[in-house]
């Protein structure tokens, strides 16, 4: 199997692991990008193709296909934030987030949705984002879908996904096939540990290699500490080289000077970087409105083997429960399934001793379903707040409100009903007070009385959004609709942190498409030569330019 980084380095790619640095280092570029995930990767390729010099800064390690051992005990400490055990302040929500070159795109489950129309309508209406229209964004999504081979999964779903499909069909609930960013996928089911065959079209194998081919510099194990400003401009990015284990700074520093600076460190990392930099924030918006798609989980034992570790992890979804109520009514939820591997399953399954051992002894017959709550669309769902611990690392305080708990209970009920409809022997809502239930009536009676409390109800998240939210009103937001910082003229935010609500869909394609739009405009403003004229004219639609919608929307 070709390892793109092995062959790229042989061709002269400028890729450096700062943990090896024996002295302090300095770099200069047109654009310095913090973070190499969906936002940073997309930005790096478009800026490099436009002829601009780019430096990419990544706190995590560079790991590529030849390193991907498909073992949880290797993947979690190497590729995830806080060994895949990142928690909210009260420990109530476990957050899965990537921390490696490629960011979460290296370890995600490849699920790709465009930003839902109803979400965009809410953004236009509530946050003044008048250009966030389906017709204006569709070409950007289409562009990135082509770039990353995003297409509906064409093989049959694995048994774990098929249970969601069967349950939905039995109950007459609409369900659909998920689009995935893969090429020549072998249907292994190990996407969460890094794709060993480079089938997943993550940033690691697409945009980052394209940028490196055009002379971009990649610094791994480099933590962006702070932006230094003078007047309304950033003049330097100060970074710390990390030690070989990536846990603590090594003592070496890395300074980066650029004409323009981009933070794409994710919806916890970007607000934390802005807070450490003490940038102007007169209305205290940085770190606010951080959303998680708080996720409820229902496990079930099926009569036939499920082998939830094998096959494309996510291929079926249902948006039925997102459309029952208005978007600003009782919280809606998206239904999907998670892959089931021994560590992730055993740590997520509730219970101890005998009950837990019995559950794990039926591991090959285990199915699980996820309900992702669409947070941020109601006044009782204001999101969490990112602040800094005493050592400068981020901490997310996210309160699960009664509004969200009401949805959590509804979600556990809905999932139990779907799982029994799919033929489940027993259903176990993941809650400390719950037990495996053999009938729907039994499950219903129990779920309606389960205390909905933090660290009793199992809640997880794999989607962090918000914290540097965009909007037309600088008193209510951190950046404008193009990701440009309201106060600093040469700083942009290109990641999921700009979303002013959650999405109601897995975020990667929203980040790709919206970043492509915003960075194309940036590239042009920096004098870069963007190749695709149609996309340039689209990127120029918006505030401060004459409206050319009629012409620009062609493609």
């Amino acid at each position: 199997m070709n390892d793109p980084f092995a062959s790229g380095k042989a061709r002269g790619w400028r890729v450096f692991d700062a943990s090896n640095f024996e002295r302090d280092a300095r770099y200069e570029a047109d654009v310095a990008i913090v973070g190499t995930g969906a936002g940073g990767g997309t930005a790096a390729e478009i800026l490099s193709r436009a002829g601009l010099r780019v430096v990419l800064i990544e706190e995590g390690p560079l790991r590529s296909s030849s390193d991907f051992a498909l073992l949880e005990r290797v993947a979690y400490p190497n590729l995830y934030q806080e060994s895949a055990a990142r928690k909210t302040k009260d420990k109530g929500i476990n957050i899965l987030q990537g921390r490696c070159v490629g960011g979460s795109t290296t370890v995600n489950w490849t699920t790709s949705f465009r930003t839902p129309s109803s979400t965009l309508a809410f953004w236009r209406e509530r946050f003044g984002l008048s250009d966030y229209r389906d017709d204006l964004l569709a070409p950007w999504f289409a562009h990135m879908e082509r770039r990353l081979h995003i297409a509906p999964w064409s093989l049959p779903p694995n048994a774990n996904n098929d249970a969601l499909l069967r349950g939905a069909q039995q109950l007459g609930i609409p369900a659909g096939v998920i689009a995935r960013n893969v090429e020549s996928c072998r249907n292994l089911g190990y996407c969460g540990f890094g794709c060993p065959v480079n089938a997943k079209q993550s940033m690691l194998v697409t945009t980052i290699p394209a940028a490196l081919d055009r002379g971009a510099v990649l610094l791994s194990r480099t933590r962006a500490e702070r932006f230094v400003t003078r007047g309304d401009r950033v003049v330097e990015l100060q970074c710390a080289a990390m030690d070989a284990r990536g846990i603590a700074p090594s003592g070496r520093t890395v300074g980066v000077r650029a004409r323009h600076y981009v933070t794409a460190a994710g919806a916890i990392g970007s607000p934390a970087l802005l807070l450490r930099s003490a940038l102007p924030d007169p209305f205290h918006r940085v770190g606010k409105r951080t959303f998680l798609h708080p996720t409820l989980i229902s496990a079930a034992i099926m009569p036939d083997p499920v082998m939830g570790f094998s096959g494309a992890p996510q291929s079926v979804y249902s948006d039925h429960f997102l459309s029952v109520d208005p978007i600003d009514g009782p919280v809606g939820f998206k239904l999907e399934v998670p892959p089931l591997h021994p560590v992730l399953s055993s740590t997520t399954f509730t219970g101890l001793g005998e009950m837990h051992a019995r559950l794990m002894s039926q591991f090959s017959h285990a199915h699980a379903m996820l309900a992702l709550l669409r947070d941020g669309f109601h006044e009782e769902s204001p999101g969490g707040t990112v602040s800094l611990k005493s050592d400068g690392t981020p901490l997310l305080d996210y309160a699960l409100t009664p509004y969200l708990w009401e949805g959590a209970r509804r979600a556990l009920l809905a999932m139990a009903e779907l799982q029994f409809a799919a033929g489940a022997h027993t259903v176990l809502p993941l809650h400390e007070d719950a037990a495996p239930y053999a009938t729907l009536d039994e499950a219903r009676a129990a779920i309606s009385h389960l205390p909905m409390e933090v660290l009793r109800t199992r809640v997880a998240s794999a989607h962090v959004m918000g914290g540097c939210t965009m909007g037309s009103d600088p008193t209510q937001s951190v950046v404008d609709g193009f990701g440009r910082h309201h106060a600093l003229e040469n700083l942009s935010v290109f990641d999921g942190s700009i979303f002013p609500t959650s999405l109601g869909a897995n975020p990667q394609l929203s980040i790709y498409g919206i970043t492509a739009r915003n960075v194309t405009r940036l590239a042009t403003s920096l004098g870069g030569k963007v190749e695709n004229d149609d996309l340039i004219s689209l990127a120029m639609i918006g505030p401060e330019t004459p409206p050319v919608i009629g012409e620009g929307a062609r493609l």
């Binding site: 005990r73 292994l188 846990i247 101890l352 933090v454």
Partner: protein, 117 residues
């Protein structure tokens, strides 16, 4: 955990392996989370705080299975979120260390990762 453990000499080896897995897992956490866990282990180790916080009267190596189960149950269903969080940390670390190891897989019918050519 007891029901998942093998008997005899394999038992000691399995426990040793799991403890080493715990060390590895903790080494991968951030310094601030390692600090929180260190506080938890100090509390569990000192006899006075052990008795107050867990109700386990005897030193850990002499404590009975029932006694340990009672303590975990008390923390799991505690009215204090901090104790529930500590229980969850023990739950997560222990099961991650146990099921991260190849030796635990045959008992649950997990074949291990596929060979990739």
């Amino acid at each position: 955990m007891a029901t998942a453990l093998p008997d005899g000499t394999e038992r000691a080896a399995a426990i040793e392996r799991t403890v080493r897995g715990l060390d590895t897992a903790i080494a991968g956490l951030t310094p601030s989370v390692q600090g929180e866990l260190a506080q938890l282990f100090v509390l569990l180790r000192a006899p006075a705080t052990r008795v107050i916080a867990t109700g386990v009267m005897r030193p850990w190596h002499l404590a009975g299975e029932n006694e340990i189960e009672r303590f975990l149950r008390a923390w799991r269903f505690s009215p204090f979120t901090r104790l529930r969080g500590a229980y969850d940390a023990i739950h997560q670390l222990t099961y991650a260390a146990w099921y991260g190891s190849n030796e635990s897989w045959s008992a649950i019918g997990y074949p291990g990762p596929p060979a990739v050519a």
